[in-house]
Amino acid sequence: MRGRHRTTAKQIVDEDYSAYDFKDDIEYLYKTKKGLRESIVDEISKLKGEPEWMTRFRHRAYEHFVKRPLPTWGGDLSALDFENITYYAKPVERVGKSWEDVPEAIKKTFDRLGIPEAERKFLAGVGAQYESEVVYHSLRKELEEKGVIFMGTDSALKEYPEIFRKHFGTIVPPEDNKFAALNSAVWSGGSFVYIPEGVVVDQPLQAYFRINAENVGQFERTLIIAEPHSRVHYIEGCTAPVYASASLHAAVVEVIAKEGAHIRYTTLQNWSKDVYNLVTKRAHAHKDATVEWVDANTGSRLTMKYPSVYLMGPGARTDVLSVTFAGRGQHQDAGAKAIHLAPHTQSRIVSKSVSKDGGRTTYRGHLRVARGARNVVASVRCDALMLDAQSRSDTYPYIEIDEDDATVTHEATVGRIGDEQMFYLMSRGLTENEAVNMIVLGFLEMFTKELPMEYAVEFNRLIKLEMEGSVG
């Protein structure tokens, strides 16, 4: 994700999504027919040579998917055509252990996205998924020796069947929602992370997800298990070329932080603006564990994603930082859920959204303090910045408190850029565009400063791209 070239401010403003908008001409080894029916679920499972329990799991999910109506409470899904999507496309025979094993065209893609370079410089491990399959995976040797597992989810099902089966589907059951059901029926790829007790992984593990072809769905499944007192930071990024018709990304992410474990999960979602991004992310934080979701959404046509944390044991904590940016034709319906099920648990949710050129942002959150969860401290803060009168921002912060000793604060602001701020910055020589960029980046700084430096640079660059031509 690191910026591939040194760019001047001028170049930044002159660039656009074209940095990510390139297509590879790939011959797929295997591709299912468009549309979804039960035989396709079987086809995928058979192709992967899965154990029977997984095939049954897929069927159970498919049945639910068919029965479950489309949600109508969130974004507009009416143009999403399930029959016009390819649910499985296989680009390679096996996962590469070195970049030399990866077919040239695909390797080039990840080169252009800066992945191998980032891997050499500051990552503990890298996974790369292309369409439906993981094409590359690596993990530093010393972590492997400590028992850390970082591999594609399909590989983990084969190589670590016991750990896998014990945790898979326990956090997000297929019946959770329509898109979790869809994912569970046709899932392929994703990351499997296992950190043994007491092991601290001090550099991030990163996965990069790339959709290449038109109308292809990506349904990866990520499972992170942090044993007691372990620590890990997982980062994912995603992009796709621009097409005129819709692609679908429906992932399920399950995160388990056992006693005293610390997991940070960072997402930089920058799909092209024709992707429906409908993702279920949920974590369980056990006694004294901490789970942090750092979630940025700048791409996609519609995102519906509400990373959630169930605070299962006393002393568990969570921090959720959600950032969305919606430009023309985009709707970012995002937020967070903190479900306090144990005493002395803490949660903090901060949401920052920016909308411009008629873009729409929605904060949708759920804060719940269950009976018996005494001495809870929880806060929700959502700030929305609208850059013009055509843009829209809504806030739906559901709060349910069943214990009267909970300390809960909720703040929400909706604002525009102030004339006095603009005058102040411009009086020092900044152009109108630069001044707006600076105010927006400042608004998002609370998020940016949480990112490793390389990602912060990339994120700021992205925002500047999104801001291009926003005034004048």
Binding site: L425, S427, R428, G429, L430, T431, E434, I439, L441
Partner: protein, 253 residues
Amino acid sequence: MKRTLQIVDLHAGRDGKEILKGINLVINQGEVHAIMGPNGSGKSTLSNVVMGNPKYQIMSGDVRLDGESIAKLAPNKRAHRGLFLGMQYPVEVSGVKLGSFMKAAYNQVHGPDALDVAGFMELVEENTKLLNMDSAFAGRYVNEGFSGGEKKKAEILQMLVLKPAFAILDETDSGLDIDALKTVARAIDAYRGPDVGILLITHYQRLLRYIKPDFVHVLMGGKIVLTGGGDLAEKLEELGYGWLKDEKYAGAT
């Protein structure tokens, strides 16, 4: 060639209301002018109009830099030509570090290649010291959580870093305790020189004890009613503004 900032028969105001009623003023490089006057006399309107705050409108007259009208230029274009306004109430810009803001401004005013990052950091460091500020100051968010005194120091720091040809300093002395006032005054005085024109706008005389202006103008009711040398400030300190309301001084320039 000496540069000049010239205000010509300026009538200007806000929301259709005329506040400045015919101001004439010429500031040459190398000169320090002070504009004094009671509250509501139009001092801040003058500074905002000269810098181009879109909330204010010119009804007639002109603002010229080196003989060329800048009245229709956006504030950033005026900054490019060497104008600077140290504001009375600097606004917060949340999440933007003072240092990176100054670097962006510096690049605009002097061009991106004028100074490399190391040179720029040195420039900031040196001036931060001059203002008795902690070197971490530039790492803080612009005016966010600043005390009144820190805000004013930040304004002067920006002036010192951006090196404008003409600096208008609007009520820079307000909100400063006596030590801070001395520090700020010393910094402004150090900036004074043959290539700099300064316009100090102040309600009180105390700043002028440390910076001796070449000219003092008294602004009342939207007009300059009296102009004199540095000693006029002391007289105002002693007598206040009341005596100027006397007919015979009105309109005298």
